[in-house]
Symmetry: C2
Subunit: 323 residues, 2 copies
């Protein structure tokens, strides 16, 4: 098949778009700003216009494109492509699939942004084709996606994979944006790591971490990883605490769903081996031996391309289901 798929990954600041082959290779990728004016009413036309302009630029016709797969934030009805509410965008009760089909003349499939990143990693990234995969994204928050037998798991009302709000500290944990306390997001997100690091740094006045905190007035997850690499005790204690809770949560999920690959993505995963080695140790401590044997823990490899590649997979999969 020499047609192209279109992957679209809608974020609060930019929209990533790509033309992708049926075997998952990116032909062309680019970004446009997310126009949030007037509750996001121009976004769909911006995407359609940008796709047309790119086709012209490449001297290709509309017929070169087979279908669009798109990831969006918020609560989505995956079957109808209807967005109930996307806080960061401004959409409320918006028929995204229908609108984008009308504007482009192409069949459109929509899913949650965390889910398409997971399917992207399965198809062309660290998942390496493994059909049972758990993706954990450690960014400002903690997100996730679960793949079962090669398909995205949605659950009864689209909440499957919302692993950031698994409770790791049942009593006395930090407050979470979701209204609960002790969620893994309060510990293993970039924000959570910074919070814990500040406590550890303040308790160890002579630590490198305390010096960085004083110099910069704040701490980031990146500072913690750097100080830990240099052997700073406060930074290492922070990563030990994060790995303990995240390893426990990932092991507990794995004792339920038995994934073949566990892919850690998001900005925090850039900490690399100093975090991953600790995480692996705690994961093996809390997972059943046969569950731990079956699972490979690994860092995501597609970075910001996971969403557009996952979008293309979605488009391709939807075509093969409807033809």
């Amino acid at each position: 098949m020499d047609k192209w798929l279109v992957g679209v990954d809608l974020g609060g600041t930019t929209i990533k778009i790509a033309f992708i082959t049926f075997d998952g290779h990116i032909v062309e990728k680019w970004e446009i700003p997310t126009n949030k004016a007037e509750d996001g009413k121009n976004i769909v036309n911006d995407i359609a216009d940008s796709i047309s302009a790119k086709l012209d630029q490449l001297s290709e016709k509309r017929e070169k494109l087979a279908a669009i797969g798109m990831g969006a934030p918020g609560f989505i009805d995956m079957k109808t492509g209807f967005i109930y509410h996307a806080v960061n965008i401004g959409w409320r009760n918006y028929a995204l699939k229908d609108e984008l089909e009308k504007a482009t003349g192409l069949p459109v499939t929509i899913d949650n942004d965390a889910n398409i990143a997971a399917i992207g990693e399965m198809w062309r990234g660290a998942g390496d084709g493994e059909g049972n995969l758990l993706m954990v994204t450690l960014g400002t928050g903690v997100g996730g996606g679960i793949i079962v037998n090669g398909h995205i798991m949605h659950g009864t009302n689209g909440m499957a994979g919302e692993i950031g709000h698994i409770t790791s500290i049942p009593e006395g944990g930090a407050h979470c944006n979701c209204g609960k306390t002790g969620c893994i997001e309060t510990i293993a997100s970039a924000t959570g790591i910074a919070r814990i690091a500040k406590l550890k740094a303040s308790a160890e006045k002579s630590s490198t971490l305390n010096k960085v905190l004083k110099d910069k007035g704040e701490l980031k997850a990146k500072d913690v990883a750097e100080a830990a690499e240099k052997g700073d005790a406060a930074a290492i204690a922070t990563l030990d605490e994060v790995a303990f809770h995240l390893g426990l949560v990932i092991a507990n999920i794995s004792n339920s769903i038995n994934p073949g690959k566990i892919v850690i993505g998001g900005g925090v995963s850039k900490a690399g081996n100093i975090l991953m080695s600790r995480l692996e140790k705690e994961f093996k401590r809390f997972a059943l031996p046969r569950v731990a044997e079956g699972a490979t823990l690994t860092v995501a490899t597609l970075g910001n391309d996971a969403g557009i590649i996952g979008g293309a997979w979605l488009a391709k999969h939807n075509l093969s289901n409807t033809i």
Copy 2:
């Protein structure tokens, strides 16, 4: 279709067998003892002979039967129906599916016993047709089965749904048979409840529970439920502790897989409302609001028939996949 399906549920003591219609109604059910002599080598022939004898007794011919679906304990390769090891039976590297097909002349499908109980509850029991279901079986141990979009979830090496070994007390928990500590099985199984009740009873000398312990020399989960119904503080404290941990674990699983029904089965579920009301409260405390909204927590209704009915579903489903 006026043919019958055969559901078989193999346990360590008895084998339950039933003829079941294609819409899931039991025509005839009976039990035979599990003959564990000579590493279980006679079991398959016992089943085949028993099915033939029952057909004769009902004046029906072999052609009345369409297929067999069977649940077995131990590690099973679901695709090949090969049993790696079934400790309670004595089988090791045993080609159960092939042997039973040879002995009966019928197509056979095999799955894990906990999984077929879950699918039975989905089809004809408390699951009420809900395709996204979590089954939690509280017996001597804690078992489970997860149904996703109407299909049993197996995971990468058949361990999906082994929720008894999710860690609820990461440090300082009781020892579990699996070699880890603090597993939910050490708390919410009949054995775990009895263990906690003994501690509470010994600490409250004036409690009813302590009196029962002195009179009988032991405590069972049933004694705890009975004493709690009468308002005994030690018994209530036991159920509170069990519900806290089990509610946490079920909420955490639900924040991952987003089930529409959560079905509680096994002997402990007979405690009824005095346990279920506490469990529901703790579940709602730890689940995301939208996850809690999507899920109904309910007691299993099929009792010991869940396995044979789930077996029949498996047989039927396998036929419709191969025809």
